[in-house]
């Protein structure tokens, strides 16, 4: 208890000290009564303090009823917790105010000796309370940066060299609650030296207020002190001059040199050498004169800008009613972008001129016109004023080039599959057509009656009649096999001739070849009389072609290997591959009708070989990506080549390796081409389901170009799975055409 008692005493002293400090420089202003109040409060607090002393370790309770000066209250509580062992200097704050010097009140006294007034200060009694400096400030570290003590448990040292311990700080919540409870918390400031919040005194607040207002912080400073006149006023004038030099003449005489300069200007103005500035307004105004009076230069004038189009009837304010847009047209106009519109206005009808409003696009359109004038590149275009029909080439009328097929006279149906190939007998009476299911039909051209049907197991890729007139048979190309068939109902003489050709009694000596010739003479009625076994993996034989004498047969298989082309000689029963090596996949081969030449069409090129001399004669470059078909003109001087890229090229073999003419008129790939053997006709068929008939006249003299006239488009085949007319053949000696389509029909077109 003794310790606490001591603490109480000290506390009281500190309180008094604080009061004194508050009193200090503003003694006159501060009310005395407040002081007494404070005292009374202190008394109360002390009472509290004592009561609280017992529970040391408990967290201090916040008394809602506690007074404004709660801080001190708490400090005391803290002190109570910390008091063991330590000196009680803890609560002895080193007050910032302690630095303030306190002057005792002075008196003015009339001196006895001089008779003047003099300031007399009261005697300082050298007792304990007289000097604040003697008061024990708990922290004696002096004016040093306090952060040196930041990580230490104490704040400094008291006069006795003992540590002044850091006051305990509550956590953030405590502090916040404190600020809430204490109405004066907003007038407190953190004291560095004591490391705690201290309330600001009224004087300090006043200083802050003044600083904020930009006033002098000293309340007693008077900025408007009366001036003291030292030199003005009666009897205070300076009489003697500062310098004894006489006053210069220039002070009262005009300058001669200036006059001379001015006179020079005046003379110049009088003589008209200097002209006064012209009135600016008149200067700015444009003066017009006869600018075109001088003769123009010989240079051609720049081209005038094109004039805008003159308005048409539809732009009228009162147009005929048919010009007014319907609802759809209006909507369409509004939905298109302004730059895509055909007209920049919508026709509108107003019943009277007075009702016509301002045109809101006027300025915009004028502006656009100007943009056109200076931003748009101009090109001079020759306006063609020709009839478009005059551009068409002058060709003889198709009617003068008759006969040519122009209507479908009969149709023969293969029920199962698409018809790949067909062939017409050399006498023009029979058609053999083969489909993909392996059915070969033999039917009459004139009536379309089926005479015989063979069923082979595999797909039929090509059929070709032998051109011999003394014998009658046809070859069918299937998967890796070639079958020779003799049609029924032929004359006995011809039958024996044919049989002797295909299955002679004495077989010629067997030659060395990988190809087997198998005679099946017994089954002449239903089956092939002769079969050629092509090497395995050669695939479907895509094309067959006979030499005109009917002894040699060339076949092309679909395999991409070297052995896709074979030449078979019937009389010797011998097959050979004419090419050791060939570039590209062979699409088609053809015999030259008159010379021992051989055409081979690969994917991109057509090569012409001389079979007798065994050498390459020519390579034709049609410029087609993928050649599909080819045919030679009966004269042998011209060939036509068709491609899957819809192009048809006409080559004149005398002329060049480049095509004489390239035509593109089918909308899909060209499938087949054929020259008529006797008439000047050729036809092309395509995957678009149409057949185009041309008149192609070739002149014997070298000077005249061949005449090609499109005659007729034959339509009638359906397009199925992207395939149209797969093969066409002309009927010998008749201007008739037979076509095989992917829809399973074979049609005869007659003139």
């Amino acid at each position: 208890m003794a310790v606490t008692g001591l603490g109480k005493v000290r506390n009281k002293r500190r309180q008094e000290e604080v009061e004194e400090v508050e009193k200090g420089p503003f003694a006159g202003a501060v009310d005395l009564e407040m002081q007494s109040e404070d005292e009374a409060e202190d008394e109360d607090q002390e009472g509290d303090d004592t009561s609280d002393d017992g529970d040391v370790d408990e967290f201090p309770e916040i008394d809602a009823a506690s007074d404004s000066d709660e801080e001190t209250d708490e400090e005391e509580e803290e002190e109570g917790t910390d008091d063991l062992g330590e000196e009680d200097t803890l609560d002895e704050n080193s007050d910032a105010d302690s630095d303030l010097h306190i002057f005792p009140k002075s008196k003015k006294v009339v001196s006895d000796i001089t008779g003047q007034t003099k300031v007399v200060y009261p005697e300082i009694e050298p007792d304990y309370d007289s000097d604040s400096s003697t008061e024990d400030d708990p922290n004696r570290v002096g004016n040093i940066p306090m952060h040196w003590y930041d990580d230490l448990p104490h704040l400094g040292y008291n006069i006795n060299g003992k540590r002044v311990l850091r006051p305990a700080k509550g956590d953030e919540l405590d502090r916040f609650l404190q600020t809430v409870d204490d109405p004066n918390s907003w007038t407190t400031a953190f004291d560095q030296n004591a490391q705690m919040d201290k309330p600001l005194s009224a004087e300090e607040l006043d200083i802050i207020r003044r600083l904020q207002a930009g006033e002098n912080p000293d309340a007693e400073y008077n900025p408007y002190e009366p001036t003291i006149e030292w030199f003005t006023g009666k009897g205070k004038e300076e009489v003697t001059p500062l310098s004894s030099a006489p006053e210069p003449k220039r002070r009262w005489l005009p300058s001669k040199w200036e006059k001379q300069k001015i006179m020079k200007i005046v003379r110049a103005i009088r003589q008209g050498r200097i002209v006064g500035s012209k009135p600016t307004a008149a200067d700015k105004k444009q003066q017009f004169y006869a600018i075109w009076n001088e003769p123009p230069s010989n240079q051609a004038p720049p081209l005038p800008a094109p004039k805008p189009k003159l308005p048409t009837h539809s732009e009228s304010y009162n147009p005929p009613e048919e010009y007014l847009p319907t609802e759809e047209e209006r909507e369409q106009w509004e939905n298109t972008d302004p730059e895509d519109r055909e007209r920049d206005y919508l026709p509108h009808k107003y019943p009277a001129l007075r009702l016509v409003p301002a045109y809101d696009q006027f300025i915009k359109q004028r502006f656009n016109r100007q943009l056109d004038l200076y931003l748009a590149p101009r090109i001079q275009r020759v306006k063609l004023n020709v009839d478009p029909n005059s551009l068409l080439p002058k060709l003889p009328s198709p009617n003068s080039l008759r006969p040519f097929p122009n209507y479908k006279s009969l149709q023969f149906m293969h029920t199962k599959a698409r018809v790949r190939c067909l062939s017409i007998s050399p006498d023009g009476a029979w058609v053999a057509s083969g489909d993909e299911s392996g059915v070969i039909s033999l039917w009459e051209v004139n009536v379309g009656r089926e005479v015989k049907r063979w069923s082979l197991g595999s797909k039929v890729g090509a059929i070709e009649w032998c051109p011999r007139l003394d014998a009658c048979f046809f070859v069918v190309g299937t998967e890796e096999q070639l079958h020779f068939f003799i049609p029924p109902n032929i004359s006995p003489a011809m039958l024996t001739m044919t049989q002797s050709a295909l299955a002679p009694g004495t077989l010629p000596p067997v030659t060395q070849s990988s190809i087997k010739w198998i005679s099946t003479s017994g089954a002449a009625e239903d089956g092939p009389i002769l079969t050629i076994e092509l090497p395995s993996a050669s695939g479907l034989s895509r094309q067959l072609t006979w030499h005109k004498k009917g002894d040699y047969l060339a076949s092309v298989s679909s395999s991409e290997t070297q052995g896709s082309v074979w030449m078979h000689q019937i009389s010797r029963r011998h097959s050979q591959s004419p090419f050791k090596k060939i570039k590209g996949a062979v699409q088609m081969v053809l015999f030259h009708p008159t010379k021992p030449h051989f055409f081979v069409a690969t994917q991109r090129y057509v090569r012409l070989y001389n079979l007798a001399e065994q050498k390459l004669l020519k390579t034709l470059m049609p410029g087609i990506k993928w050649i599909s078909s080819m045919d030679v003109h009966p004269s042998g001087d011209h060939i036509i080549v068709g491609g899957y890229d819809r192009k048809l090229c006409w080559f004149d073999l005398e002329l060049s390796e480049k095509p004489y003419k390239v035509l593109r008129y089918h909308s899909r790939a060209i499938r087949s081409l054929h020259f008529h053997p006797t008439y000047p006709l050729f036809a092309s068929s395509s995957d678009d389901g149409s057949i185009q008939i041309f008149h192609a006249r070739v002149y014997s003299d070298l000077m005249t170009d061949p005449l090609i006239v499109p005659l007729k488009i034959l339509r009638g085949h359906d397009v199925q799975e992207g395939l149209g007319v797969l093969q066409i053949k002309w009927v010998n000696k008749q201007p008739w055409l037979v076509s095989a389509g992917a829809d399973g029909s074979v049609s005869l077109w007659c003139s």
Binding site: P295, Y374, P710
Partner: protein, 625 residues
């Protein structure tokens, strides 16, 4: 082998420069470049091979001729623009420092560029200038009607208004207005000046606001050029017409809103010789004179030397004879504005004189207040009429409403009910017409009947006097087949109606009989005997002869149409086939032309169809009433 050609040294790479490189070369800002291009009339070009012109790049750029840019580099206006840039810096500094007197001095000596030389360059001869004033007239008419704002100064607008008034005065004085068209955009006028058709568009008198997406600076630059151009053109036109330019303005009248009437045209004193010949006389070089003499002596020996000059001085009133005719083209080499086509008296007299320029001369018009005075005063006065207007339309009316001489009143409001006796009297003596009458009269070149255009009547359509291109749909031509089909349709409807009544007793199969018989009759049309047989059969079947005839006619028409269709199909097929043999270029051209033709045809057909529909509707309505 010649020297190796280096890339970019010749050809397109040298002839074209891109815009950015042009700006770099001229060392001016893009705005200044644009201004120069507008003033000098330089526009981008489209090189034939963009890649070659742009150093191998195909990026979208605009190209200019390198020569055009080189030519711009020597332009005095470019120097002035640079001076102006320096001036702007100086004056902003002076203003920033508050040196007002310096600023004023600078402002007084502001660099100003003149465009006279540019006008002369762009339009070497007067005809070139007149040919190109369409856009200029449109612009000044537009700006004359704009409200002033900080960007468009009132002085500018005033100047534009003055120019428009001067132009209108000239057109009225020379009676050169030819066509007028009231469109939804504004009023199109077409005048014939110096044998050139000048067309301009004037907006209706409403306050216009410049939209925000319009760059006013571009318009103002154009306007700058146009004002200068029109000033010089008007000067020449006025002086050639013997008028003083600029026409003096009566400020009192102008303030009372007299518009065009505020200017008074004053003729120049005829006695002093005009500037042109005076300037011309000393310009004749001795060489030319010698050559002329040689020419003349070769032809006819007795023309004295002094005559040459006299003749040249006033060739217009020289007597026309054969010798003179040959002489003129020789001398014209040194002549002024129209070097190639000097008008001789012979050629002038042979020209068709438009008689329609005075169509309103016998009439006096009164303009009621709802019609635009600026339009109709111009129209009536340029066709010789007199016109008066109420004070509310502006001052300066030559007579008041109660003038006895008034023959026509241009009125644009519905007829009022309550008429005073005075008004009724007036209505009796005057003709009340709607404004469109004036315009249609002008376009027709004669006075039209006023009844169609009387007050309160529905106006006939107003058509463009400029016409459409050849072969376009013409609304004035009555559609012959349309009329026929209309009649037919009507008949059909009528017969249907009548048949409805008879339907009760008529057997349905009878109708089938008729049609089949009619078909037979058509088939047997060329064979009179067969026809006769069919007719008899029809009669036997109890068909009325009239209905039978009608049916036959219908069938015949149908067949004809079918034939036509067939022919068309055949024809198109043949054309298609012949197209096979065309070269690609020609084929494309052909296809383009065909496309255009087809488009026009569909447009035409659409309009015709609409018209028939409208007429049908009208007929139906009329019948229903």
């Amino acid at each position: 082998m010649g020297r190796l050609k280096q890339k970019g040294r010749a050809g397109a790479a040298k002839a074209y420069v891109t815009r950015s490189s042009a700006v770099k070369k001229l060392q001016c800002s893009l705005a200044d470049f644009r201004r120069l291009c507008i003033l000098k009339g330089i526009f981008p070009r489209e090189p034939r091979h963009k890649k070659r012109a742009n150093k191998g790049s195909t990026a979208p750029t605009s190209f200019y001729y390198a020569k055009d840019i080189a030519y711009l580099a020597h332009e005095p206006v470019l120097n002035k623009l640079r001076e102006h840039k320096a001036f702007a810096k100086k004056i902003s500094r002076a203003l920033g420092r508050g040196e007002w007197s310096t600023a004023k001095n600078l402002e007084d000596n502001k660099p100003v560029y003149r465009l006279d030389h540019i006008i002369k360059e762009r339009y070497p001869s007067f005809i070139d200038a007149v040919r190109d004033i369409d856009d200029a007239l449109c612009m000044i008419h537009l700006f004359a009607s704009l409200p002033s704002n900080p960007r468009v100064s009132s002085a500018l607008i005033e100047n534009c208004a003055r120019l428009t008034a001067e132009w209108q005065l000239y057109v009225m004085h020379t009676r050169s207005l030819r066509n007028v068209f009231l469109s939804i955009k504004g009023v199109y006028y077409q005048a014939e000046v110096m044998d050139q058709n000048v067309t301009w568009l004037v907006p209706y008198q409403f306050p216009q606001n410049i939209p925000s997406d319009v760059d006013v600076r571009v318009m103002l630059t154009f306007l700058e050029l146009y004002q200068t151009l029109l000033g010089f053109v008007f000067f020449k036109l006025y002086t050639d017409a013997g008028l003083v330019y600029p026409p003096p303005l009566d400020s009192g009248k102008d303030e009372s809103g007299a518009g065009v009437g505020a200017f008074n045209l004053r003729t120049t004193n005829p006695t002093p010789i005009t500037g042109a010949p005076k300037n011309d006389a000393p310009k004749v070089s001795s060489k030319e004179v010698r050559q002329t003499i040689k020419n003349i002596t070769a032809e006819s020996s007795s023309v004295p030397f002094t005559d040459v000059d006299i003749d040249r001085a006033d060739h217009t009133n020289s007597f026309p004879d054969a010798a003179e005719e040959e002489f003129v083209p020789q001398a014209s080499k040194s002549d002024l504005d129209v070097p190639s086509s000097l008008p001789t008296l012979l050629s002038l007299s042979s020209l068709p004189k438009p008689s329609s320029t005075n169509i309103f001369a016998p009439y006096t018009f009164w303009l009621s207040r709802e019609s635009s005075r600026s339009i109709f005063e111009f129209l009536i006065r340029s066709f010789g009429g007199r016109i008066g207007w109420p004070v509310s339309s502006g001052g300066g009316s030559p007579f008041t409403e109660d003038d006895e001489a008034i023959t026509h009143v241009i009125i644009d409001r519905p007829t009022a009910k309550g008429d005073t006796a005075q008004e009724r009297e007036r209505r009796r003596r005057r003709k009340y017409v709607q404004p469109q009458w004036v315009v249609d009269c002008i376009n027709a070149g004669k006075i039209l009947l006023e009844d169609l255009y009387a007050q309160g009547k529905t106006l006939p359509p107003h058509l463009s006097p400029f016409g459409e291109r050849d072969g376009a749909y013409d609304p004035t031509i009555g559609l012959v087949n349309v009329e026929n089909s209309l009649v037919e349709v009507d008949d059909a409807e009528l017969s249907e109606d009548s048949q409805d009544i008879e339907d009760v007793e008529m057997r349905p199969e009878l109708e089938g009989d008729i049609t089949s018989m009619a078909a037979l009759a058509v088939a047997a049309a060329d064979d009179p005997e067969a026809l006769r047989a069919v007719e008899l059969a029809a009669e036997a079947a109890g068909v009325d002869y009239g209905t039978f005839e009608k049916e036959v006619q219908k069938k015949q028409q149908q067949q004809k149409q079918k034939h036509k269709g067939d022919a068309a199909v055949d024809g198109s097929g043949e054309e298609d086939m012949n197209k096979i043999l065309m070269s690609k270029r020609k084929r494309q051209l052909y296809e383009r032309m065909k496309y255009g033709e087809k488009k026009r045809a569909t447009e035409h057909a659409k309009l015709e169809e609409k018209r028939t529909k409208i007429q049908k509707d009208r007929r139906r309505k009329a019948r229903a009433l």
